[in-house]
Amino acid sequence: MRNAHCCLAMLPLPPGLHLLLREGLPPLPQDPPSPHPPQPAPPFTFAPRRLRLGPQHPLFEDGDVHRHLYLQGVLTSLEEVAERPKVSEFSCHISGCSQVFDTLESYEHHYNTLHRNVCSFCKRSFPSGNLLDIHILEWHDSLFQIMAEKQNMYQCLVEGCTEKFKSSKDRKDHLVTVHLYPADFRFDRPKKVKSGSKHTSSPREQGSSVPMDVSVEMAEQFQGNPMETGPEENMEISQPAASPGPLLPEKRLYKSRIPSTICFGQGATRGFKGPRKKV
């Protein structure tokens, strides 16, 4: 090792350094102004220089290696990881959602995934507030369509990009060509049905027409048993677009599910108060 001969444990430091650190340095003796030192006389070459070091400088090797040992988790010690506290089982308090949890973390994740960015009009859930805002604007703002005929209204979905487009198709082209999004990006499906029919989300319609979202009530209702009524969006993504895989027909068998407009019975979420988010 490089530092093999470094066997000194203590430096002979003067006392009182901590005090000076707190209170500042005393006035230093003023050195007499010395004539500027001559340039180094050959063969001597020393001249004071502040050094700028680049990333590959050998001086950095030991420190870089230490950093990477840390990243790779090799700096082991005796301390053990704290376990996540288990709590007694409890269920999600959102009406119609009966998911049960035994850690706060799993509840938090469930809540944030399904109940946080939920559209209050159609109860769909979105992965981010930005996508929810765009959804509400495009789907539930009555002025949107009128405005969209006059000017570019479809915002780019990429945070930090301010471009707007005439249609969602133009936006999709932009996402694919400029931002290298996959052509089947699942959070921007074109709106094919009229917004009036959005509440009657029959499986067929929902699967093919819902942009950006997941149907919250469907998903929850069948969470315990996803096989039989696996939400269609899962299937669509696993076998998207032009390449229907061999498993697709098999899955189509499992499409029946309770329309979300049904307001009674097990798993129903609609009543006088919808599953509004509360924070």
Partner: protein, 501 residues
């Protein structure tokens, strides 16, 4: 991650751990010399035991056959009753690199994971994210590139509100970023920088640390100086990074460490650093080092060296650009207290501190005279033999002081300096010997007495042995000539003493 950073010992003895660490260290040194130094982080819940690995995270499952992998994939795709269990088994199996490669070669495998990852089934979503995270940890570029279709979704969920998912996405992205330039080329237009700039405003420490990790990985890319650093500097990231680094002692050490390395990667590769200087990086980092040094008596928190190292580097490189005009003299004290604190357990910090000490004292009369009047010279001299790099740096700092003139040389010579320099002349490292000759020259130039002392201590012979070394012989000869000069007119040193006595 910081809280979870210490790897589990997994029932191994201390000796086994040391062996493992030595091997890893050797591999890292080799990789660094080849400019291939990359690391990935693994965010793995310790639930591995449920599948029979009694000893926790380090037992890698056996590779599965192609058919077994296909069966797992089918189980996950079929949405059968135990889809969740299949997915859990898949995640466990994907800890094996061979299994990873077999999995990504299967038709539709990544698409299936993407589907579950973007589904609303919260548990499946997390489990799918964990599978993707296992894939991102692969050291095979083909596996990382198989994950290309999923990067836009990983970015999308960064703006979400699920802490655990966000963290998983961040570490997955951070891992993918270093594996392949193709991934980086895709992530930049997908808007990774603005997404990170909004994530860095998260109130959650774990998210902040993850953001720092992704950014530090991006900034190490070979194309970073032209493609990435300008975007980062143009974004809101720098103004958030600096306060996060500086608040590391109070809260959020993990994030502070990551962002401090980010700053280092920017500063050591960027031309002017105008953005960071305008944000007050020099005073901010200086005051961080002062705080840190003042807390040392209460005990340095474990892992502090991981923060100190990049902070020293940032400050040192910035001061190389700006000079030290108006710098707080207490920085010098802080530097020695830090040296003292880390000398024993993290000696690698010695050279980093000495480099900063050089940048403080080079051409700066204030810091040179502070070094002398604060009586820090004995401590500095003790570092002379600490390591090969340290030897050269200590000698350089001494030259910085000696170059200031006769008075400073005289103060240097009040220490047993010559006796310590003599053995250095026998070192095999020509750079160290060369620097030693430079220092002797400055001392003799300003203080003739020193030359006489040197002869008395047998320095003559020490110089003669270098008369046949090409890069040293001229300087050795010149010093011999100085030493042999008959004592005549009073030297500058004696003259100064006369004035001040």
């Amino acid at each position: 991650m910081w809280g979870r950073r210490r790897g589990r010992r997994g029932g191994r003895s201390a000796e086994e751990l040391r062996v493992r660490r030595r091997e890893r260290e050797a591999a890292l040194r080799k990789a660094r010399r080849e400019e291939q130094l990359v690391s990935k982080r693994l965010l793995r819940e310790d639930s591995a035991a449920e599948d029979g690995a009694q000893d926790g995270a380090d037992i890698v499952p056996e590779p599965l056959s192609e058919d077994e992998v296909l069966e797992l994939l089918r189980g996950v795709q079929r949405g059968s009753e135990d889809r969740k269990r299949s997915l859990g088994r898949l995640r466990w199996a994907l800890q094996n690199e061979e299994t990873q490669q077999k999995f990504v070669r299967l038709d539709g495998s990544i698409r299936t994971l993407t589907g579950l990852f973007t589904s609303s089934l919260a548990e499946l979503q997390l489990e799918a994210a964990r599978c993707l995270h296992e894939l991102s940890h692969s050291s095979v570029p083909a596996v990382a590139e198989a994950c290309l279709p999923v990067t836009s979704y990983l970015l999308t969920y960064l703006s979400g509100h699920s802490l655990e998912l966000t963290e998983l996405c961040l570490y997955t992205l951070g891992n993918l970023v270093v594996e392949s330039e193709a991934v980086r080329k895709q992530l930049l237009p997908q808007g990774i920088i603005p997404v990170l700039a909004s994530c860095i405003q998260s109130p959650h420490e774990a998210v902040l640390e993850g953001v720092g990790y992704v950014l530090s990985q991006l900034l190490q890319a070979k194309e970073a100086p032209t493609e990435i650093i300008p975007l980062v500097l143009d974004s809101l990231l720098p103004r958030h990074m600096l306060p996060l680094v500086c608040s590391g002692l109070k809260a959020g050490m993990g994030a502070a460490v990551e962002f401090a390395w980010c700053l280092h990667y920017i500063i050591c590769r960027h031309e002017d650093n105008a953005v960071l200087l305008a944000l007050g990086a020099v005073p901010a980092l200086t005051s961080l080092l002062l705080d840190l040094a003042s807390q040392i008596p209460q005990g340095a928190p474990e892992g502090l060296e991981l923060l100190v190292c990049p902070v020293l580097r940032c400050l040192s490189n910035l001061l190389a650009q700006t000079g030290c005009q108006g710098q707080d003299g207490r920085l010098l004290i802080a530097l020695f207290l830090i040296l003292q604190c880390f000398l024993q357990h993290h000696p690698f910090l010695v050279q980093e501190c000495l480099w900063l000490l050089n940048n403080l004292t080079a051409d700066d009369p204030f810091f040179c005279s502070a070094l002398l009047s604060l009586d820090l010279l004995p401590a500095l001299l003790q570092l002379l033999t600490c390591s090969q790099i340290a030897t050269v740096l200590v000698l350089t700092v001494l030259c910085n002081v000696a170059e200031k003139g006769a008075l400073q040389c005289q103060q240097l010579l009040q220490q047993p300096l010559l006796a310590q320099l003599l053995p250095l002349l026998t070192l095999p490292d020509p750079e160290a010997v060369g620097q030693c000759l430079e220092l002797l020259h400055l001392l003799f130039l300003h203080c003739r007495e020193a030359a006489a002392d040197f002869t008395r201590q047998g320095g003559h012979q020490a110089l003669e042995q270098h008369l046949s070394t090409p890069e040293l012989q001229e300087r050795a000869q010149a010093l011999l000539d100085m030493v042999r000069q008959p004592p005549g007119a009073p030297s500058a040193c004696q003259a100064t003493l006369a004035v001040f006595s």
